[in-house]
């Protein structure tokens, strides 16, 4: 949650997505194997929550404005979610492969 929040408020755009991906990859690297079940699915959720929350917080007005804010948040979040999911997924797969190799050895 901290990474997308920092990225969203202080960096924005590509840098924000990179920060999210880096943070999620680091988490995927450090947690126990069972922790990957939490890191992988919750990283996009955290990004989504921060992006949508920020847009909704900024939006003033009625229901249509709020709906537009949610849509904006989702549109902004999606690229970062994809990059983050791909990076942390790659880390998880590489961890699994290396563990299998070491088990075979």
């Amino acid at each position: 949650v901290a990474a997308p929040a920092i990225g969203m408020f202080f960096l924005g755009g590509v840098l924000s997505a990179a920060l999210c991906a880096g943070a999620a990859s680091l988490a995927a690297l450090l947690v126990r194997p069972s922790g990957l079940w939490w890191v992988l699915p919750l990283a996009p959720v955290a990004i989504w929550a921060v992006c949508v929350g920020r847009e909704v917080f900024d939006a003033s007005g009625g229901g249509s404005r709020q709906a537009v804010a949610v849509a904006h948040g989702m549109i902004d979040a999606f690229p970062a979610m994809v990059v983050t999911l791909a990076a942390s997924g790659a880390v998880a797969v590489s961890r699994g492969l290396s563990r299998r190799r070491s088990a075979r050895a």
Binding site: P41, S60, R65, A71, H72, I75
Partner: protein, 664 residues
Amino acid sequence: VPEYQPPRRQPPYDLTPRTPGSPAPGDDLRYWSARPPQPPRPPRPERPERSERPGRPERRQPRRRRRATVAARALACTASAAIVLASAATWAAYHNLTSGLLTSNAINEIRSGEKGYVAPHLDGSVNLLLLGLDSRKDMDGNDLPTDFVEQELHAGSSDIGGYNTNVLIFLHIPADGGRVTAFSIARDDYVEEPGGTSAVGDIPDLGMHKIKEAYGRAKAIAVDRLKASGMTDKAQIEKISREVGRESTLRAVQLLTGEHVDHLAEINLLGFYDVAQAVGPIEVCLNHPVDDPIENGAGTGLKLPAGHSMLDAAAALQFVRQRFHLLRGDFDRNRRQQAFLAAVVHKLKTDGVVGDLGKMQALFDVVKKDVVIDDSWDVLDFAARAQNLTGGNADFRELPITGQPVLPDDGSVNTVNPVQIRQIVMTGFGDAKEFENEMTQAAANAANGGSGDSALSQPQALGPGTLNDPNSALSRGGQIDPGLPSEPGLPAPTPVGGALPSYAPLPPLPPTARDARPAAAAPIDTHAVVDLYNATAHNGLAATVGDWLSASGWPVDKTGGAATQSRTTILYGKGAAKAAAQLAQTLGVPAVPAPSGRTAAGHVLIRLGADYTPPGGPQPATPSDTTGPDGTGTADPANPDPSAALNPADSPGIAMDNGITCVN
């Protein structure tokens, strides 16, 4: 080889006493454990049923914990997948909607410090400029098929039209969802067209011309430069030169109005036709039957009865283009454009298109071909703001002119009072305080010998020269040629009053701009503008009193007729209390706040009733007077000021509350 014997374990029933912690004889020491033998467990009491258990939380068993963990993981994965898929769908829909839109970066190309630059406002409101181009060419600069132009668009030959911006509608959408205000800028308004930086180098100041020509003049310069640089790609030349044309128009509009353009939308004849076709038949209403035959390439061929009519795309184009055989010419055309826009928005609302991305998609597929929008346009945000336009919470107005002389190089033009225009627009857009600050700054700069870079410190920078400006072409009297037609093949326009000297005098400029005195010296509250309606049976009263108020320094925005009433009333909107009180004192009528918020912020609405009597001080001409504005006694009692009948600000604005508004 001896047969393998498995080690014998201590049978569980062997209860031979032994020292705790020591192996029993015969034990296989490999399986001996240091764990002391445990006393036999007492029989476990039977576990009560779940419903009978005491309040202490149940101690979860590992299997249950595993199940809970698995369930939580499944939930997280499902939620995550749902969020990712929903975001992907939204992202894809948005990019599908907006991809392929023709965009312009013209707004960002106008640099700070250039004449015509206005700093963006930070209040979240949006100023949108609708720009209708009278071009018979496609986006690559190719002529549209002649048959299509003549038979379907009824727009004459492809050779005419050029790149005139015949429609300029400037809308303000407040951030708080308040009332939308829109001004039509008459295409023939005689304004200064400043130059500036562009993709083809610096464009020089274009001088004083009709505002509609700013686009074409700058574009022509750009085309010449691009061709001189060796560029041969026609589409590329068209693209770059149009961008230069847009920048020039933006500078002229910003210089004239004092307001920053946040977004622009440019549409040409073909685009209008396509959009009208996509929207479907549009209902309009005419006050009088219309017959506008095509003669010598002019006219639209429109023939409609009075009352409501449904227009297809071709008829819609005729409806918004007609300017001959109309009482007020171009100004009636502006009204028609406003009414048509209101009708389109009304139809989009009733069809449920506004705010529905799916239905908007079909419209956008058409819009993408022929409509240019600025590259920072947020379609979703605009869809939400467009709800304001459809909520019966918008009105269209026109800007006043001061005369219609005919100039040798420009033909028939509309002269305007730039300070008055700026005041009306800025007040209408909620920037009355900024206007006052500009005036104060201009006065200070003038008092300091003209130093400073405020646009208002120099009269020229305000925009058009005026009848009061000795350097203006308008003041060099011998150049007026009433017989010069404005466009080839078109009848000569009729100047108001016939010749320049007989025009009604301009209302005095605010003291800060005219005499370089501080604005604080002005007694009138310039935060508000006055809308004046004649609710009596006497024709011309509103125009007469409006002229008098203008001459007294009041910014009169609209004058017109209203349903008759016995008493004169003054209602005022938000922020106009002080001005309303001053007017109440002047007119001897109590002012009350508008009860339903229908009066726009910054507006004072005066309805002159049967009990109205001219107050003391400068006396306005009464309806019974036969003395004209120049004191020659030539005025028609039914219409004391002939120019007022043609003044675009003389009729009430188009309110969108009704959806369909009847126009001339």
